[in-house]
């Protein structure tokens, strides 16, 4: 039951320490972290949780993006490599076709054997341009292509020379060339170089395939890790929210239980005051009534003493009736619903003075009523305040030949207005100032000044319900000033 009175932010910490008892060995570090987390508001926790999830997604996305970029680049390079390999094959075939065609021509002198040679000579610049384009990103391959270019040029030139010799001097002049080929050395070198180009490209391909596979594996692993991380974070965010919601629900249930208890207590109180108002009044009416009947029927036979006794019985009954009425008003002031409207205090004071005019008969009172600001509040309740305070001022100046009563206001602060009612009456000793506003507290004997001791208690209760304060200043025989503050319109709760 005690935990109910705890403020909300403390309650989760309590629950946490209880949970700590259940699990035998929570490390101090996690304990501190949890404590730190549970001190956060739900909004901050949710924000932190989603922030972490978001950061995780960003990091994983960045890495996956760069991996994918590598894959795309590799795939582009692969395409290039495959083209290069294919081109090398074509070039090789064309070269050997041209070479064998050329030798047949040297032997036979048949021009038709030179067709593939001539095609090669025609296409070679194009082939070379392709080769350069496909190797422009690899320095090693590029230099190989350059060498290849030179060698092919030399070979073609040697073959061209051989053709010219065959044409001019006949078969015998080129017989040895026709057997071994016009540029045997160059051809061998060209073949070696092309094999080198081929294998270098193959190696690069293999490397890239390995890299791509690694990168793919990496990405998959990262995505898996990311998903796991996000699940974990979501789970913890859920846990935190769930924890908080459970706590809120518990507090709400407690509040509801309390509210129901309070309502029951209030009902009981209402029944009590109803009973007070109805049942306690009847016997008092009877006491007064029968005393009156007795004095009427036996009045002649009674002596003065007996008549005085009867009068005292009546007076006491009336006084108790008044007490009950005042007490009921006091109790109602605490329960009654409050209105909140703008109250014109000037008008209110005027009506109060008008209502009190019967009590003022035969009195000499010098009134000073200063203009008062309008306030927000319950008109009937505030009227009660002014009735009580002004009636008090009138009552306690009864012994003065000329009473002086001032009603005015001072500027308390920007958020409240202070109102005072000052008189030049009998005053009071400041050492009893704390008793002034208590229920049934009186500073004067009843034979000095009549009263039930509820008026000022009522004033305090009403002012407190308006969110204000009450206080008083005075000195014996030097008058009293009763003050109260009311919050200005915008700060009234």
């Amino acid at each position: 039951m005690e935990s109910v009175t705890q403020e909300h932010p403390v309650a989760p910490a309590l629950a946490q320490s209880e949970a700590g008892h259940d699990s035998p060995a929570p490390t101090p570090k996690t304990g501190r972290l949890m404590e730190w987390l549970t001190h956060w508001s739900i909004e901050r926790r949710v924000l932190a949780g989603f922030g972490l999830v978001f950061a995780g997604i960003v990091v994983i996305s960045a890495i996956s993006y760069s991996n994918t970029a590598v894959l795309i680049e590799n795939s582009r390079l692969d395409t290039k490599s495959h083209e290069l390999l294919q081109l090398l094959g074509s070039v090789g075939e064309a070269l050997s076709a041209a070479e064998s065609g050329h030798r047949r021509y040297l032997v036979t002198g048949d021009e038709s054997y030179l067709r593939s040679y001539r095609t090669l000579v025609e296409q070679m610049p194009e082939y070379l341009r392709y080769l350069r384009g496909l190797t422009n990103e690899e320095a090693d391959q590029q230099s190989r292509v350059e060498t290849l270019e030179r060698l092919i040029a030399r070979q073609l030139k040697a073959e061209a020379d051989a053709i010219t010799q065959r044409e001019n001097h006949g078969y015998q002049a080129v017989r040895h060339l026709a057997l071994s080929g016009a540029a045997k050395n160059e051809l061998e070198q060209i073949q070696r170089l092309m094999t080198e180009l081929d294998s270098a490209e193959q190696r690069a391909l293999v490397l890239r395939v390995a890299q791509s596979a690694g990168s793919t594996k990496n990405t998959i692993a990262l995505l898996g890790l990311g998903a796991l991380m996000q699940l974990l974070l979501l789970a913890s965010v859920y846990f935190l929210i769930h924890h908080d919601v459970t706590e809120r629900r518990r507090v709400a249930t407690e509040l509801q239980t309390r509210g129901e208890l309070l309502e029951a207590a209030n009902k009981e109180l209402e029944a009590f005051s109803y009973s007070v108002s109805h049942d306690l009044r009847a016997p008092l009416r009877h006491i007064d009534g029968y005393a009156a009947l007795l004095s009427k029927s036996a009045g002649e036979a009674l002596n003065d003493k007996a008549r005085r006794y009867l009068q005292t019985i009546s007076d006491s009954a009336k006084q108790m009736g008044q007490l009950i009425d005042d007490l009921l008003v006091f109790s109602r002031m605490g329960r009654q619903d409050m209105l909140r409207t703008t109250v014109n205090l000037d008008q209110l004071v005027k009506t109060v003075l008008h209502d009190l005019r019967l009590d003022l008969q035969g009195r000499t009172i010098s009134w000073t009523i200063q203009p008062l600001p309008p306030v927000l509040g319950d008109p009937a309740m505030l009227r009660q305040v002014f009735v009580n305070l002004i009636a008090n001022a009138v009552k306690f100046t009864a012994t003065r030949p000329e009473a002086e009563i001032t009603v005015g206001s001072t500027n308390g602060s920007s958020s409240e207005v202070q109102i005072f009612i000052r008189d030049n009456g009998v005053g009071f000793d400041m050492q009893y100032v704390n008793k002034l506003f208590g229920v049934f507290q009186r500073l004067h004997r009843n034979d000095e000044f009549e009263g039930t001791g509820i008026g000022l208690a009522n004033v305090r209760r009403i002012i407190h319900r308006h969110g204000g304060r009450t206080w008083a200043e005075g000195a014996p025989d030097q008058g009293a000033t009763f003050c109260f503050s009311l919050p200005l319109a915008r700060t009234l709760r």
């Binding site: 109805h278 009847a282 009416r285 009534g289 029968y290 009336k318 009736g321």
Partner: protein, 147 residues
């Protein structure tokens, strides 16, 4: 000679009843008063049944009704009267110690014609009862019989 129509006083407390009668005595209208001690008796009187089965027919000129009574309370009696076509015209004055707002509101909602809080002070009480008796029993013109 016209029949004197009675005043019906519903009061469970004999002392209150006696004091009320003493008040009306001063204006010599006490003999018109019929006192009922609870809500059930009031209804018996109005419907001429039980101990009132032999009474002279006719509605009372006014009913003074206490709220808190044994058996059937004042509000229930009031509800019965105001929902019966024959009894509805009878003026009903709530005469009670209760000043509670809920009692006032309920009484008027059920059709009470007046609501008077019994003063504690005897002289005020006497004045109140006397004036009520005179007003409703003498000054006020009752609804025509049979309406």
């Amino acid at each position: 000679m016209t029949t004197v129509k009675p005043i019906l006083l519903a009061e469970d407390n004999p002392r209150d009843a006696e004091l009320a009668l003493a008040a009306m005595e001063e204006h010599h209208i006490a003999d018109k008063v019929v006192v009922c001690r609870d809500g059930a008796e009031v209804l018996d009187y109005l419907y001429c049944r039980g101990i009132f089965s032999t009474r002279q027919e006719g509605n009372p000129v006014v009913v003074f009704l206490d709220l808190k009574m044994p058996k059937i309370n004042g509000l229930e009696v009031l509800r019965t009267i105001k929902s019966d076509v024959n009894l509805k015209p009878i003026p009903v004055v709530m005469l009670t110690s209760s000043r509670e707002e809920s009692d006032l509101a309920q009484s008027y909602a059920l059709g009470a014609n007046a609501y008077v809080v019994k003063p504690v002070e005897f002289h005020q009480f006497i004045t109140a009862v006397k004036e009520l008796g005179v007003f409703w029993g003498v000054i006020n013109e009752p609804p025509p019989e049979g309406s």
